[in-house]
């Protein structure tokens, strides 16, 4: 981790239903390059919306948000930002079921200048890194939940992102598979020095992070290192 901010958010607001449902209500946040951050909070607190804003999956209403030197309020080159800077891991994997594991990992690389052979080689290496080199031709539907999540991790790493955003990455897994996925994410974070931001309900997941951010009613309630775990947490 270094001291340079990779995320800088000031007074971020987001509403839905023509402003009737205010989900983010003045978020201020800074995250350092290479930091591992967990975002916790009860359902509806705004943590997933915050993650979507960080990954430019949704548009900001008010406030400032700068991620990896992209001003996301300008709504320009958001696809380029997502392709080059962000790797997403979703709770339900979101793999494309009718293509192979290898093709799923190659998908983000279509927006790069890599040739077909380079894409294949890189996908092979990534699948090897996540322990799935013998499943390259398998369809995701034939894999277990843990294996699917490994494919999703390989896909998230395809374009060497600066930040990995994971929304409940162990939420749909049994505890053993979940533990393995977390170990893998933690290892990749340390090895590649990638900034890792995880949204979770699970305190066992949250406590692995360098810092835990607690969100409640669209605001940051606490942002501290994980030593405050013994205090009351509204999770």
């Amino acid at each position: 981790m270094n001291n340079k901010n990779i995320v800088k958010i000031e007074n971020l607001e987001k509403s839905y239903e023509n402003g009737n449902i205010k989900v983010l209500n003045g978020i201020d946040l800074e995250i350092k390059e290479g930091e591992f951050v967990s975002i916790i909070g009860p359902s509806g607190s705004g943590k997933s919306t915050l993650l979507n804003m960080l990954g430019a999956l949704d548009i900001v209403d008010n406030g400032k948000i700068n991620v990896a030197n992209y001003d996301l309020t300008k709504k320009k080159n958001l696809d380029e930002f997502r392709s080059e800077k962000i790797g997403f891991i979703f709770q339900l994997h979101n793999l494309i079921p009718n293509i192979s594991v290898m093709e799923n990992v190659e998908i983000p690389m279509y927006e790069t200048k890599l040739s077909g052979k380079q894409r294949t080689n890189k996908a092979l290496k990534l699948l090897n890194d996540v322990g799935l080199k013998d499943k390259t031709k398998t369809k995701p539907t034939k894999l277990s939940g843990g294996e699917r999540q490994r494919v999703a991790i390989a896909r998230a790493l395809a374009n060497d992102p600066a930040i990995i955003l994971a929304d409940e990455p162990t939420g749909s897994l049994d505890s053993r598979s979940g533990k393995k996925i977390l170990e893998l994410l933690n290892d990749l974070h340390k090895e590649k020095n990638v900034t890792l931001i995880i949204v979770t309900h699970d305190m066992n997941v949250a406590k692995l992070a360098d810092r835990i951010i607690e969100v409640l009613d669209g605001k940051i309630l606490k942002s501290n290192d994980n030593s405050f775990l013994n205090e009351d947490i509204n999770c």
């Binding site: 999956l57 979101n94 983000p108």
Partner: protein, 139 residues
């Protein structure tokens, strides 16, 4: 007199072809809208991993053209087989001799590609405009 009759046959033939093009276009729009609808979540994933609008547009248009060209090939084969059957059972009059020229098939494939493009454009444009968060929420 013969010239007038031939003109009338030609006009009727073009009118039927035009009707087929219109029906084909409606069919393609319907098929591609359904395809986009069923794959909303997949399109959301493609947007989330950084695919640009024009790549998604190209993907859907490409599928639409593949569909219409395949239909063109199947239609041409069925057309030739149909005419050969009519010839065998002597329904065609002796004055009507079917002629297969390369131009007829080129026209058919040209029209198929055109129908694929115009029929696929609206569904492709809709897919490219989807918001990633909305698309990913789709069940």
């Amino acid at each position: 007199m013969i010239g007038n009759t031939l003109d009338m046959i030609n006009s009727t033939s073009w009118a039927i072809s035009l009707l087929a093009i219109v029906i084909g276009r409606i069919g393609i729009v319907n098929t591609m809208i359904m395809s986009v609808y069923e794959r909303t979540r997949e399109i959301g994933v493609l947007k989330a991993v950084g695919w640009k609008k024009r790549r998604i547009l190209g993907m859907i248009l490409g599928e639409s053209i593949v569909l219409t060209v395949t239909s063109g090939i199947v239609g041409s084969i069925i057309g030739v087989i149909g005419i050969e059957i009519l010839k065998t059972i002597n329904i065609l009059s002796s004055q009507m001799v079917p002629v297969y020229t390369i131009n007829i098939f080129l026209q058919a494939f040209g029209i198929a590609i055109f129908v694929g493009l115009i029929g696929g454009f609206y569904p492709a444009w809709r897919a490219s405009k989807l918001q990633p968060t909305e698309a990913l929420k789709y069940e």
